[in-house]
């Protein structure tokens, strides 16, 4: 745990503070102020993202530090999209996601840019990671809404369940695209579209949980809203483990994805 006394660090800490304030303001329903803080937080994170791109010389998606920074920028557009096109709210959750996702950027990961290994130099690098990043933020939002299902009662629970479903459905094709692009890139770079390595298997597991959720909902509809929500939360857990497993995975055994740390 070390503070980053750099310009990037300044952007990130500012964004985190603004997201935290926005979350509180959303929770107490001071909506106008909340939106202003939230938008400002996104602007700070975006400034940091652009600065990082320039400093490192590549699109900031190469390692976990940069991935989390990207997620911290994407929450805000996602919230807007949800409001405008999906008729879904829950901005508190989104701001909290933004804060959580920037936490490792600010305090955990080293910000030292590293040059790209040959394995990462491909036109598929950015689309594969980008698809996953957007998918993860969307599923994170779905997870927050699923928490709402667990916590609420009656009509509000059903409404939350509907919202969860809308967002999870929106994220599923992105998750599928990320998985497939990873396979295509794997074929080009490492000779196989599937290597059974831990990161791939965890991404498959995440995808399967959401696939199971969709089939479960197809079968049972809205009869068991909390079961539906639980499946979404399980999927989100699998996603978090996918992101972090490579770090813990050294305890078990290696895999092709260990460059990401």
């Amino acid at each position: 745990m070390e503070l980053k006394y750099t310009l990037l660090g300044l952007f990130v800490y500012t964004a985190m503070a603004l997201y935290a304030v926005a979350a509180i303001l959303f929770a107490v329903r001071a909506r106008r102020a909340a939106w202003i803080m939230y938008a400002a937080g996104c602007a700070a994170a975006a400034a940091g993202w652009v600065w990082r791109w320039d400093d490192a010389g590549h699109v900031p998606l190469q390692n976990l530090f940069e991935v989390c920074l990207t997620l911290g920028v994407l929450v805000f557009p996602l919230t807007l999209f949800g409001r405008r096109f999906l008729d879904v709210g829950a901005e508190v959750g989104d701001a909290v996601i933004g804060l959580l996702v920037l936490f490792p950027v600010g305090f955990v990961f080293s910000g030292e840019p590293k040059p790209m290994m040959p394995a990462l130099q491909s036109v598929l690098f950015v689309p594969h990671v980008a698809a996953y990043m957007v998918a993860y933020v969307v599923m994170g939002k779905a997870g927050c809404l699923a928490l709402g299902v667990m916590v609420r009662q009656g009509d509000r629970r059903l409404r939350a369940e509907r919202d969860t479903h809308v967002v999870a459905r929106f994220g599923f094709p992105l998750l599928t695209l990320g998985l497939v692009l990873g396979a295509v890139w794997g074929k080009l770079a490492w000779s196989d579209y599937w290597n059974w390595d831990p990161k791939e298997l965890w991404s498959l597991a995440s995808w399967l949980v959401f696939l199971g959720y969709l089939h479960f909902r197809y079968l049972n509809g809205r009869r068991y809203p909390r079961a539906n929500a639980l499946l979404v939360l399980l999927g989100l857990l699998a996603i978090v483990l996918t992101l972090l497993w490579v770090n813990f995975g050294r305890l078990f055994s290696g895999g092709l994805h260990s460059y990401a740390t």
Binding site: P118, V180, K187, N195, L201, L208
Partner: protein
């Protein structure tokens, strides 16, 4: 929903849950053991059941056939499964046994520069666990699994580094520790944080070092008219000095002979040819400056010798005059904006003695060093630690590899039918196989390692993936957009 469809859907859910659980187990096992698990007999049954379920789905859920998006997703999944099974190791083995086809699922090729190869290797499975798939990393035994009907030749291999000229080099000390039997016990290296003008202790010694000057880009300076030379000492003890140039010669009286300089090497290396060893110029690949000498005796016989600047004793025979390849020592350094290497002037102090030296790496050198033992020859006596010739180093910061390339050619019956420069992310596709840049000779870059993979079932998988992704976007995005547009 009619009973049968409900039951089948619960079975589907169970299958999905099972695969998700198995994936988690596989993630804990690691890639090799997971691969073995997913190709094991019970899993083969699982895959077949899954494929049958998907196929049955089209019959049991006729609505699927009517909605292109859902249809595409399920068909895509089925094709991916089918392609994956068709391309599996087991399927290749079965086809070889039953149909007699030659194709093998995967293997490695190792091709030295300038040579051709048609054999594919695989590591032999060890008793104590799954084989490590990358050749060259550990002591592995390999067997030939196939011979391709064509040859692959390596025309050239190249490494490309990220260039970061001007980055600070590291200062370090190495004070090796030897046991009483002369065996190296510990290398004992330590980095010395430095700033110009600051004095810091040298680890493992009682000395202190001050960096007097650091030039980020520098070249050595020499005394007037200094140049590399070959010194030859005759039997009378007189030293003859020849400039290190081809054609220079000197005639000695004792032993009676004429010494000619035939060739000057920037870096002499030796390679194995059909009938022996052949020297060659390997400039840029290391540090071994040498001069090829020819001794011509009065009876007309000739002998060849090599004088190597860094290994003076090498190759001398009894009766030879003493000979040496001598480089002028630089007397200093000066800034040179075109130089890719720095220079550092240090003063090392110990007890009442001190020395001032330049650390001057050559263009491609990984480091420059100074032997500190002259400082230790006087009282105070060397400590335990210092007894063994510690050296001070100026070390190049690690260069990261940017990319590596192999220029390959495919030959059938000796004729070139295809050429491609491959790198990581860009394989060669020929004859039903993909050839991937997998590794290379880390010592000298003289050979390349290719991973070779069969392309069986690949097209099915690609089509399946397109259908799966396209279907997903249409189903969950496209249909929602269409519904919204129709509402308005």
């Amino acid at each position: 929903m009619p009973r049968i469809r409900t039951i089948v859907m619960w079975v589907v859910l169970a299958m999905i849950a099972l695969l998700a659980a198995l994936s988690v187990v596989g993630a804990c096992l690691g890639a090799e053991r997971a691969r073995a698990m997913f190709s094991s007999a019970p899993l083969i049954v699982y895959w077949i059941v899954l494929a049958l379920l998907l196929a049955a789905g089209f019959i049991l859920y006729p609505r699927l056939l009517k909605r292109p998006a859902g249809m595409a997703m399920h068909l895509g999944a089925l094709l991916i499964l089918a392609g994956g099974m068709w391309g599996s190791d087991l399927a290749h083995t079965l086809r070889r046994r039953v149909l007699g086809t030659e194709k093998v699922s995967r293997g490695f090729m190792v091709i030295p520069e300038g040579r051709r190869e048609r054999r594919l290797y695989r590591p032999v499975a060890r008793e104590d666990g799954p084989a490590d798939e990358t050749p060259g990393d550990t002591q592995e035994t390999y067997e030939v699994v196939a011979e391709l009907p064509f040859e692959v030749a390596l025309r050239d291999f190249r490494l490309q580094y990220y260039e970061t000229p001007g980055r600070r080099w590291h200062l370090a000390v190495e004070a090796p520790l030897y046991g009483s039997d002369g065996r190296l016990l510990d290398r004992r290296q330590a980095e010395i944080p430095w700033e110009v003008g600051r004095t810091v202790p040298v680890p493992f010694t009682r000395a202190r070092v001050t960096v007097l000057e650091y030039l980020p880009r520098a070249k050595p300076t020499y005394a007037e008219d200094a140049e590399p030379a070959v010194e030859i000492e005759d039997a009378a003890g007189r030293i003859h000095r020849l400039p290190a140039r081809r054609g220079a010669e000197v005639t000695l009286e004792a032993p009676p002979m004429t010494v000619h300089i035939r060739r000057v090497y920037a870096c002499l290396k030796v390679r194995r040819t059909g009938d022996g060893l052949e020297p060659y110029e390997a400039e840029g690949e290391g540090i071994n400056p040498a001069v090829e000498l020819e001794f011509v005796h009065p009876d007309g016989s000739r002998e060849r010798r090599f004088a190597m600047a860094l290994i003076p004793q090498h190759g001398r025979r009894p009766g030879d005059p003493a000979y040496r390849y001598v480089f002028p020592r630089p007397i200093g350094a000066e800034a040179d904006p075109d130089s890719p290497v720095p220079a550092m002037r240090v003063r090392v102090v110990r007890g009442g003695r001190w020395m001032t030296r330049w650390l001057l790496p050559g263009r491609d050198d990984p480091y420059a060093s100074i032997d500190l033992s002259p400082l230790l020859a006087e009282p105070p006596a060397p400590s335990e630690d210092e007894r063994l010739a510690p050296e001070l180093f100026l070390v190049r910061p690690t260069r990261h590899i940017r990319d590596y390339y192999s220029d390959l050619a495919v030959l059938e019956d000796g004729r070139t039918v295809a050429e491609k420069t491959i790198e990581v992310n860009h394989p060669l596709h020929w004859g039903g196989y993909h050839f991937y840049q997998s590794g290379y000779d880390k010592e000298a870059g003289r050979y390349t390692v290719l991973q070779v993979v069969s392309d069986s079932g690949l097209r099915l998988v690609w089509v399946g993936m397109v259908l799966l992704v396209g279907g997903a976007f249409w189903r969950f995005w496209g249909e929602a957009i269409v519904a919204k547009v129709e509402k308005n």
